[in-house]
């Protein structure tokens, strides 16, 4: 049986067109963009072209708004710490949704240790931010609020424009982590009212090792990594030209193909959801309609997610889980707890993220494998007897 890879939120293959486009920058055009000779300038030119493509992809004011980083975690750290520390005279409060990525939450916790107030805003059972509570939590001291465009674990898309209006009534900046959303749904940083936006290259079918932070003109930020002053001094270190050039091309391709690809994936996603929910005691996690086109996430009672992942892998189907046993901390996913699941419920999650390799013909084998996996693990589980009675 052919492999069915349904873990695109964790890692994506690089698009072959992207690879061909960027390949010279590993080899013949290997220059350092800071070098003034012709080989350096060639690299610099390609990097600036990539900057322009990414600016266009998110409808930014101009290409100078794009700061390249080594990845999305770095971009999130730069946004959170960079904005909070640079604007400390305006206030010492930061706010985030309860379902942010750890690369937003952990820098905020660090700020909290250093005297900032840090407020988490809850979400409802579908993952949508509680806007009333957001409004009540933002004061004139709130220098940064961070809310993701869409969540990677439950696929829920947040009402970013409404959030932006609320944040800007009293607060200073809105940071949006768009790693999961970019390339799946259109993003317009100007219309959406976003001050800082994080992107990841690999999540656009670009090479790993590059990310970008959009910084709206006029937004004040300080560097987190200090050194030779690359990227307007905001991210020192020699740029990963191959990954950056690839990211630019990946963004250009995504701009062109995104709507067509999303329209192709939505019926596959919906069929998967319908088929898998026909399993007894299975539930959708996240929002039923405000959901990323490539995202289907579930939980099953009485079984555990790491076992699901391993069992599905035996069918050569790769999935993800928010189970505690699969994490480094042995804590269940904070996202699943934030949508109100009990610990024992959060343990039994399975996340499917579709991609360009996914076809309608995959639904049947995935459904069959899921059925058999759930059935086998429930037969082993002492908990499944409880609701069967």
């Amino acid at each position: 049986m052919a492999r069915i890879y349904l873990d695109h939120a964790s890692s994506m293959p690089i698009d072959s067109r992207v690879f061909e486009f960027a390949k010279p920058y590993l080899m013949s055009s290997h220059g350092n963009p800071s070098s003034l000779h012709s080989v350096g300038l060639e690299a610099r030119r390609a990097m600036e072209e990539a900057r322009g493509k990414i600016a266009e992809f998110i409808h930014a004011e101009n290409e100078n708004t794009i700061i390249f980083t080594g990845g999305a975690t770095e971009a999130n750290n730069l946004a959170v710490k960079g904005a909070a520390l640079r604007n400390i005279t305006q206030g010492k409060a930061v706010v985030a949704s309860a379902i942010e990525h750890m690369s937003v939450l952990n820098p905020m916790k660090e700020l909290q240790k250093n005297g900032f107030s840090f407020t988490l805003i809850p979400v409802d059972s579908t993952g949508i931010l509680n806007l009333k509570q957001l409004e009540a939590s933002i004061t004139k001291n709130t220098v940064l609020t961070s809310v993701m465009y869409a969540n990677n674990e439950i696929g829920t898309i947040e009402p970013i424009r409404e959030i932006s209006n609320i944040v800007h009534e009293k607060g200073l900046y809105l940071h949006v982590d768009a790693v999961a959303a970019a390339g799946r749904i259109p993003i317009d940083v100007q219309k959406d009212g976003i001050d800082l936006l994080t992107l990841s290259s690999n999540d656009l079918y670009g090479p790993s090792g590059a990310g970008a932070l959009y910084v709206k003109p006029g937004v004040k930020l300080q560097a987190v990594l200090l050194g030779g002053g690359q990227e307007r001094g905001l991210r020192s270190g020699t740029e990963n030209v191959f990954a950056i050039v690839g990211m630019g091309e990946a963004a250009r391709i995504a701009s062109q193909e995104m709507s067509q690809e999303s329209n192709r994936l939505i019926p596959i996603r919906d069929k998967l959801i319908k088929e898998i929910l026909s399993i007894e005691q299975s539930f959708l996690t996240g929002h039923p309609t405000q959901r990323l086109p490539h995202h289907a996430s579930f939980r099953f009672s009485s079984i555990e997610g790491e076992s699901i992942l391993l069992n599905m892998d035996m069918y050569d189907i790769q999935v993800s889980t928010g189970s505690a046993c699969s994490s480094k901390t042995l804590e269940p996913s904070h996202v699943l707890l934030a949508i109100g699941l009990k610990h024992e419920e959060a343990h039994g999650s399975m996340v499917l993220t579709l991609g360009r390799s996914t076809a309608m013909g995959d639904v049947e084998p995935v459904k069959k494998a899921t059925y058999e996996t759930v059935q086998r693990l429930r037969k082993l589980s002492p908990l499944s007897q409880e609701w069967r009675k």
Binding site: C325, L330, E344
Partner: protein, 128 residues
């Protein structure tokens, strides 16, 4: 090279666990863990002349929780209860050709469930 993922033996026991199920009217029953923590194991034993003649388990948990449960039943079957009482988490892990460090508490649970079942058997025997 550092251990990456589970050993073949763990995966083999995970995919084909031995002694799965329930024993009606067991001579000993042990249950450990908590659904909140993500691991629940129960072990049923049949004992004759202090020898474990039959053993079954059911487990809710991760791959290593299932594999260690399966392994502990294999190790205990046919043994004298005193000997089975001495089976440790280390024994279970080494029989499985090792476990990732963060998974060591799961194998602890499998041995604990066995020990609980034996204690239950001894209590019942004393009451007779």
């Amino acid at each position: 090279m550092a251990n990456v993922g589970y050993s073949k033996k763990v995966m083999e026991h995970f995919m084909n666990p031995r002694n799965v199920g329930v024993i009606e009217n067991p001579d000993g029953y042990g249950k450990v863990g908590n659904p909140v923590c993500g691991d629940v194991m129960e072990i049923f034993i049949k004992v004759k002349d202090d020898i474990i003649t039959d053993i079954k388990f059911r487990t809710f948990g991760c791959g290593s929780a299932i594999a260690t449960s399966s392994m502990v039943t294999e190790l205990a079957k046919g043994k004298h209860v005193d000997e089975a009482m001495r089976i440790t988490r280390g024994d279970v892990a080494s029989e499985l050709e090792g476990l990732p460090p963060q998974k060591m508490h799961c194998s602890n649970l499998a041995a604990d469930a066995l020990h609980e079942a034996i204690k239950d058997y001894r209590n019942k025997k004393q009451q007779k």
